[in-house]
C-alpha cells in the first residue's frame, strides 16, 4: 500500500505543479461573496420592515374599529389617487395614477356592477406596464379596456383576461373611499381572478426550490406524474419538465413535451453554439430536426445575465405556435442557482 500511496502523492504533486492559479479568481470570489452578504442583509432588513409594517397594519385595523372616520392618507403604501367625484356612479372614466417610487401605477374605475375597483398597472405576467386600450392605435374590441404590450394580452373593465393567450386577471388593491378621497393601499397585492381557458391553454409552473435536492424531488414527481397530467382538454397541451441552467457553459436547457411528443429548447451565449450561430431566435439546427415537436431548438443570444427573460417562439409543423419563457435567477448565473424557473409556457392558436 505504501508504494501506491507514494505514487499517488508524487503524481498529485506533479499535477499540482501544472495548475495555474489566476489571481482574478479570488477577487471574483470576494465580489460574489460580498454580493451575497448584501443580499442577506437586504433580506434581513426587509424582514424587519415587514414585521414593523405588519404591526402598524394590525394597529390600523384596530384603530379603524375604534373610530370610523379619518383614515389617514399616509405617504408610503397608501396612495391618495384622487377624488371620488372623478369617477361618479355610472361613469366609465378611469383615474390613472402614475408609478411612484416602489408603488406601480394604479387604475381606479367602476366595474360593470358599478363597484369601485383599484387595479394595478403592473401586468400579471412579466410585470410590463399596462396601457389603456384607448392609447393603443389598434382597435382591440369593445370590451377591452387595458392592454399588455408585452404579451398582447387584453383585459376588460373588471381586470379579467379577454381572449388569449393568458387567463390570469390583473392584480388588484384594497380601495377606501369613505372620506371622499380614493385611497389605494398598495402594500398588499391581490392576484386577479383566472378566467377559463379560451383557446389553447396555459400552464405556468411556480418557482422551483433553490436547492438541487428540492429540484430532484420535483423532477421525480414530474416523472411519476408523466403523461397522466391533463389540462382541461380544450386545447393543445404543453408539459415543461423543468429548466436546467448549466452555470459553466451558461446554456439553459428546457425539455418539454407537447401533445405527447418531446423536444427541448436550448438558450445560451453565442459562443456556445458556434456552428449554429444564427441569432434572433431564428429556428436553426439540423435540417432533419425541423420537426420541432421532437427535436432541439438552439437559440444563441449575445449574453446571459441575471434577471433576463428568455423567450422562444417556435412555429410547429401544424401551424400552431409554441412560446416558452425562462426567467434567469435575478442574481445572475451562480453555482447556487441550480434550477432556473419557467415563467411561462403558453401555446396559442394562430389566427
Amino acid at each position: 500500500m505504501t508504494d501506491l500511496e507514494t505514487r499517488l502523492r508524487e503524481s498529485f504533486a506533479e499535477h499540482r505543479g501544472s495548475v495555474v492559479v489566476d489571481r482574478e479568481l479570488l477577487d471574483g470570489a470576494v465580489r460574489r461573496g460580498e454580493r451575497r452578504v448584501r443580499r442577506q442583509r437586504a433580506v434581513f432588513v426587509g424582514s424587519v420592515a415587514v414585521i414593523i409594517l405588519s404591526v402598524f397594519w394590525i394597529g390600523s385595523i384596530v384603530d379603524d374599529q375604534r373610530s370610523d372616520v379619518d383614515v389617514v392618507p399616509a405617504s408610503g403604501p397608501v396612495r391618495d389617487v384622487g377624488s371620488v367625484d372623478q369617477v361618479p356612479e355610472g361613469s366609465d372614466r378611469i383615474v390613472v395614477a402614475e408609478p411612484d417610487g416602489e408603488s406601480p401605477g394604479v387604475f381606479v374605475l367602476r366595474d360593470s356592477s358599478d363597484q369601485l375597483v383599484a387595479l394595478s398597472a403592473r401586468a400579471p405576467k412579466q410585470g410590463c406596464r399596462l396601457l389603456l386600450a384607448e392609447a393603443v392605435d389598434v382597435d382591440l374590441g369593445a370590451d377591452v379596456v387595458f392592454h399588455d404590450p408585452c404579451h398582447g394580452q387584453n383585459f376588460d373593465r373588471a381586470g379579467l383576461a379577454v381572449g388569449g393567450p393568458g387567463i390570469r386577471g390583473m392584480y388588484r388593491y384594497d380601495l377606501e373611499s369613505a372620506t371622499g378621497r380614493l385611497l389605494v393601499d398598495t402594500s398588499l397585492t391581490y392576484p386577479g381572478p383566472f378566467v377559463e381557458s379560451i383557446e389553447g391553454g396555459e400552464m405556468s409552473l411556480d418557482r422551483l426550490g433553490p436547492s438541487d435536492e428540492e429540484a430532484m424531488i420535483w423532477l421525480d414527481a414530474v416523472e411519476a406524474a408523466g403523461d397522466a397530467v391533463r389540462h382541461d382538454g380544450s386545447g393543445p397541451f404543453v408539459w415543461v419538465l423543468g429548466a436546467f441552467h448549466d452555470v459553466v457553459s451558461g446554456v439553459v436547457t428546457v425539455p418539454f413535451t407537447i401533445d405527447g411528443l418531446a423536444g427541448q429548447v436550448q438558450v445560451g451565449p453565442i459562443d456556445q453554439f458556434p456552428e449554429r450561430g444564427v441569432a434572433d431566435g431564428t429556428r436553426v439546427g439540423d435540417p432533419a430536426r425541423h420537426d420541432l415537436t421532437a427535436g432541439t431548438l438552439f437559440i444563441p443570444v449575445p449574453s446571459l445575465a441575471g434577471g433576463d427573460i428568455l423567450q422562444a417562439d417556435m412555429a410547429l409543423d401544424d401551424g400552431r405556435w409554441l412560446r416558452l419563457g425562462v426567467l434567469l435567477p435575478i442574481e445572475g448565473p451562480d453555482l447556487g442557482d441550480i434550477v432556473t424557473l419557467i415563467d411561462v409556457a403558453t401555446i396559442t392558436a394562430t389566427r
Binding site: S11, S18, V19, V21, T296
Partner: protein
C-alpha cells in the same frame, strides 16, 4: 499586501493585482486572512477538483464558489483550525451536487427520447508525465466516493479525520473507501502500465 504562497506559484504583484476589496479590509477566516488562505491552498484545491471532475474549468469555478462561500460565512466559523477542511467540504459538496444534477438532467433528457449521447464530463487531463496522466485517469475512473476520498486525502493532503469531516462520513468509512480505491487503482494501473 504580501502573499505567502506556500507552493510559490501565486503571483505576488502589487495593489493592482490585489483588488480593492482585499486591500481595503482583509477578510479574516478563523485566524487566517482569506487572501493568505487562497495563496496557500487555491492551487491544491483547484488541482484536486480538476482530478475529481476531470475538467479544469469546472474546477476553477467550484474553487471560486468555495472561497465565495467562505467569505460569506467566515464570521460563523467556530473552529479556525477546521478552516481548510471546511473549504474542501464546501468545494466537494458543490462538486457532488453538480454531478448529481448532471445525472438528473441526463435522465430527464433520456426520458424525452433520443438526444446527443455526448457525455457532459469531458476529461481533460493536465499532466506532464505519462505516469501522472495514467494515475489521474485511473483516479478519475474510481467511484464517486472513492475518488473524493483519494483526492482529499492525497491531493488535498488532509488527514483521515479531516477527510471524514469534509465528506460528512466516519473515519472508518474513509479508510474502507481508500482501501477499495487502492485495490481498483492497482488493478487499473497494472493493466494500463505494465512497467
Amino acid at each position: 499586501m504580501r502573499q505567502q504562497g506556500m507552493d510559490g506559484v501565486v503571483d505576488t504583484d502589487g495593489p493592482a493585482a490585489t483588488g480593492r476589496a482585499l486591500s481595503a479590509d482583509p477578510v479574516v477566516v478563523g485566524s487566517v486572512a482569506l487572501a493568505d488562505l487562497f495563496a496557500s491552498h487555491a492551487q491544491r484545491l483547484i488541482g484536486a477538483l480538476t482530478v475529481y471532475t476531470g475538467d479544469p474549468g469546472v474546477a476553477e469555478d467550484l474553487a471560486q464558489e468555495a472561497f465565495a462561500r467562505l467569505h460569506v460565512s467566515h464570521r460563523q466559523l467556530r473552529d479556525p483550525e477546521a478552516t481548510v477542511s471546511y473549504l474542501y467540504s464546501i468545494a466537494f459538496n458543490q462538486a457532488r451536487s453538480r454531478w448529481r444534477r448532471q445525472v438528473g438532467l441526463t435522465r430527464a433528457l433520456r426520458r424525452l427520447g433520443p438526444t446527443d449521447e455526448s457525455s457532459p464530463d469531458v476529461a481533460v487531463i493536465v499532466a506532464r508525465s505519462a505516469s501522472t496522466a495514467a494515475m489521474t485517469a485511473a483516479v478519475g475512473g474510481l467511484s464517486e466516493r472513492q475518488r473524493s476520498c483519494v483526492v482529499l486525502r492525497y491531493y488535498g493532503d488532509l488527514s483521515v479525520a479531516d477527510t471524514a469531516a469534509a465528506l460528512g462520513i466516519s473515519p472508518n468509512s474513509v479508510k474502507t473507501h481508500l482501501q477499495r480505491a487502492f485495490i481498483a487503482l492497482r488493478h487499473d494501473l497494472a493493466h494500463e502500465d505494465p512497467s
